[in-house]
């Protein structure tokens, strides 16, 4: 997917002024939040479950080398093939080779953020391969030529009229705004594709090393189709998806569907171990698992960023983030959006490329409060900010006006006497620049702040009032 993280400010500002989008995201956030709360309230020990999830991810990532080997061994034993891809281009090459090897002309895809990361669809389409997204939201977004805007509800930013027009134009069907009718159209169109496709490409929610099994969560059934009908199944997962045992899986099963949509279980959970066995009518003849690094091995070694790899892709943090609610998913400029997007985009892209994302947060902590695996987003964002200011690898060229006021203030803070004088100076400046209690002129950013808010005036500082105050309360104390 094309990287547009540098346009965050612009895109977010525009999105924030889009009332329709605002209403949509607000409603979606409320709905998902309510579902999540209901789901978690059914757990005997919600906090304990989250801690356990954190511990499982921590342990599995710490043991990744052996788990990767074990996974590979078991997938091969089950008749599957394992490929290793260091980066996006290597992953694309592997898939193109498989396309050639199996004479593939049509591909059906299950939802996979990984395939967005490696910009797969564009490459396949360029080479003349027919690619069909089959998750309804992804299908809609693909037809629209857009990218998904939410981890679990890709087309959430579009309303029914837009979808109706899209279907009419791109599929040649009669115009209808009814969500059910639109869904049935998609069902019909995609079913044909499923029946005729040569290859199914999916991501994977988890890979269990213990038996070499890929776990796929969904509610629609498109992943079941993609893994049951075509001759070849290719699954692309990031290294961090690997867990050790079925107990580890169980701990995360407890969390993911609840956190995403308040469910005890996804509608369909497919546990895939290799291709179909001899005699089976349904299922792929070949199963190929691609393990993709694309920066993850590097992030693993980073004591702070490493935690962002715990992410289960549930979307809960998006649903509580006030910034996401207004900026919408596309503003984040790359595959991942919302609070986790700030972390992953910053970690996976070249250092500093997603600079604005790290500062577009009030650090309100709503995300960390709901994360099923206890990722501390604010802590990580603060460390990314440190790197952007102080780490030569990240900081790039900082503008003087960005840094100077902060530096001056910091220096003053070390000299109480000067700090006091500076305050006096500022109040003098204020006297000149205000009349009848209102500012007449202010530097750029401060003036902007004052467009919608009354800018407060500098008062006689507290420290000048202390002597009188001290007397009053000491005296007053005797009375009380």
């Amino acid at each position: 997917m094309e990287v547009k993280t540098e346009q965050f400010k612009e895109m977010a500002a525009k999105a924030a002024c889009n009332e329709t989008l605002n209403r949509t995201l607000r409603h979606a956030g409320e709905s998902f939040r309510a579902l999540r709360e209901k789901g978690f309230s059914q757990l005997e020990d919600p906090e304990g479950s989250r801690r356990r999830g954190h511990e499982v991810k921590d342990r599995c990532l710490s043991r990744l080398p052996e788990l990767l080997r074990l996974l590979e061994e078991n997938v091969i034993e089950a008749g599957g093939v394992v490929h290793w891809a260091r980066d996006a281009s290597e992953a694309r090459r592997i898939i193109m080779d498989l396309v050639k090897q199996y004479g593939v002309r049509t591909i059906v895809k299950g939802k996979s953020m990984m395939t967005e990361e490696i910009a797969l669809n564009k490459e396949l389409t360029r080479k003349g391969i027919e690619v069909w997204e089959t998750d309804l939201g992804e299908f809609i977004v693909q037809l629209a030529g857009e990218s998904p805007s939410h981890i679990i509800a890709p087309a959430i930013h579009m309303n029914r009229e837009e979808v109706a027009c899209l279907f009419e134009k791109k599929l040649g069907v009669d115009y209808t705004e009814d969500p059910e009718a639109l869904t049935m159209i998609a069902r019909r169109v995609l079913r044909e594709k499923f029946l005729g496709a040569d290859m199914g490409i999916t991501g994977g929610n988890m890979a269990v090393a213990e038996t070499g099994t890929l776990a796929l969560f969904e509610n629609e059934g498109n992943i079941r189709f993609a893994t049951s009908l075509p001759r070849v199944h290719v699954a692309l997962i990031g290294l961090e998806k690997v867990v050790g045992t079925w107990d580890d899986f169980g701990a995360l099963l407890n969390l993911l569907p609840r956190s995403a949509a308040g469910q005890k279980m996804p509608t369909y959970l497919s546990l895939i171990t290799g291709p179909k066995k001899a005699g089976e009518e349904d299922g792929p003849e070949a199963f190929h698992l691609i393990l993709l690094d694309n920066g993850r091995s590097r992030i693993l070694g980073d004591t702070v960023l490493r935690e962002s790899l715990f992410c289960l892709r549930c979307g809960a943090c998006l649903n509580v983030c006030p910034v996401y609610e207004r900026a919408g998913g596309h503003s984040y400029g790359w595959v991942y959006s919302g609070p986790i997007g700030m972390l992953l985009n910053s970690a996976l892209l070249p250092p500093g490329k997603a600079r604005d994302l790290a500062f577009a947060s009030t650090l309100c902590g709503a995300c960390a409060e709901v994360c099923p695996v206890l990722i501390d987003h604010p802590k990580i964002i603060l460390d990314i900010r440190r790197r952007l200011s102080e780490d030569p690898l990240w900081k790039g060229r900082l503008a003087l006006e960005e840094v100077l006021p902060m530096k001056v203030y910091a220096w003053l803070s070390l000299h109480p006497g000067l700090f006091r004088s500076a305050a006096l100076l500022a109040r003098t400046f204020q006297t000149l620049m205000t009349s009848s209690g209102r500012w007449k002129w202010l530097p750029g950013t401060l003036a902007r702040w004052g467009e919608k808010r009354r800018i407060p005036l500098l008062k006689k500082p507290f420290r000048t009032r202390w002597p009188g105050l001290e007397k009053a309360i000491r005296g007053g104390r005797k009375k009380h």
């Binding site: 709905s31 342990r59 043991r63 990744l64 080398p65 089950a78 290793w84 260091r86 309804l136 939201g137 809609i140 509800a153 890709p154 087309a155 579009m158 309303n159 029914r160 969500p179 059910e180 869904t183 069902r187 213990e210 038996t211 099994t213 629609e220 059934g221 498109n222 079941r224 189709f225 049951s228 009908l229 290294l239 045992t245 079925w246 107990d247 580890d248 169980g250 099963l253 407890n254 005890k264 279980m265 509608t267 369909y268 959970l269 497919s270 895939i272 171990t273 290799g274 179909k276 005699g279 089976e280 009518e281 349904d282 299922g283 690094d293 091995s297 590097r298 693993l300 070694g301 980073d302």
Partner: protein, 246 residues
């Protein structure tokens, strides 16, 4: 084939993770794990009925093959079924499902025995399977893919019916890891697919409006039966259900 990538990735990961000093996971456990904690067959089905209702799906209790026949007739009527497919499964044979359905005017097909590919299945209105396990806590049907027990039987038709016997039920989702291990050891490896079905296919991708049956079935019927209600002709009453002769 591309061993360079494999070697480099493993080296990079190893460097990043260092040495793990914590406890080892039981990934390579030897010895056979305990049998799954099936709940007593006489346990009532109420919890399952409640879960399925909450999912807007249906539960039926059939205390005899005759009651099953009635349930099937109701379902055929409710959904206007004219064509059905089923697993090639001893339980479904024993229960004479084909006869019941033909009596209701339904055309039956067993995909495993058909040579014509998916055409019939794709046009079926109803798909009937047995089950390998059932989780009461969530109303989840667990199906193993086997020859004759195809994945698409419960996927292609718009209505799915699963017959679950009372001796193949687990109480909780946390029993699943044990079940999977048991199956892995019993059959020396897991099947190509273990599919856990909890309710019917759904989506809310358009304006968060819930729509059923987007790709998979729009409704699931679970029929609970007591194996003791079956004529004991093939020893099906005994709890060897989990190792169907195949």
């Amino acid at each position: 084939m591309r061993s360079g990538a494999r070697k480099q990735i493993l080296a990079d990961v190893k460097r990043s993770t260092g040495v793990w000093h914590g406890e080892d996971g039981p990934e390579k456990k030897d010895g056979s794990p305990a049998r799954p904690p099936w709940i007593p067959p006489e346990t009532p089905w109420d919890e399952a009925a409640k879960e399925l209702e909450a999912l807007s799906d249906k539960f039926h209790l059939a205390r005899s093959p005759r009651e099953l026949h009635r349930v099937l007739a109701d379902i055929v009527r409710e959904h206007g079924i004219s064509r059905a497919i089923r697993w090639d499964h001893p339980l479904l044979e024993e229960l004479k499902v084909d006869a019941s359905l033909r009596e209701c005017g339904v055309e039956m097909g067993i995909p495993a025995r058909k040579k014509e590919g998916r055409g019939f299945s794709a046009r079926a209105d109803l798909g009937i399977t047995a089950a390998d396990a059932f989780v009461m806590e969530s109303g989840t049907i667990v199906l193993r893919s086997r020859p004759g027990w195809g994945r698409t039987t419960s996927l292609l038709p718009p209505v799915h019916l699963a017959i679950v016997t009372s001796d193949q039920r687990l109480a909780r989702l946390e029993d699943l890891p044990g079940l999977i291990r048991y199956w892995r050891d019993e059959a020396d490896g897991l099947p190509g697919a273990v599919t856990l079905i909890t309710g019917h296919s759904r989506t809310a991708d358009i304006e968060l409006t819930l729509v059923s049956g987007v790709h998979g079935p729009g409704i699931v019927h679970v029929v609970g039966m007591d194996p003791l209600s079956l004529p004991d002709s093939t020893g099906l009453r005994r709890s060897t259900r989990h190792q169907w002769p195949r």
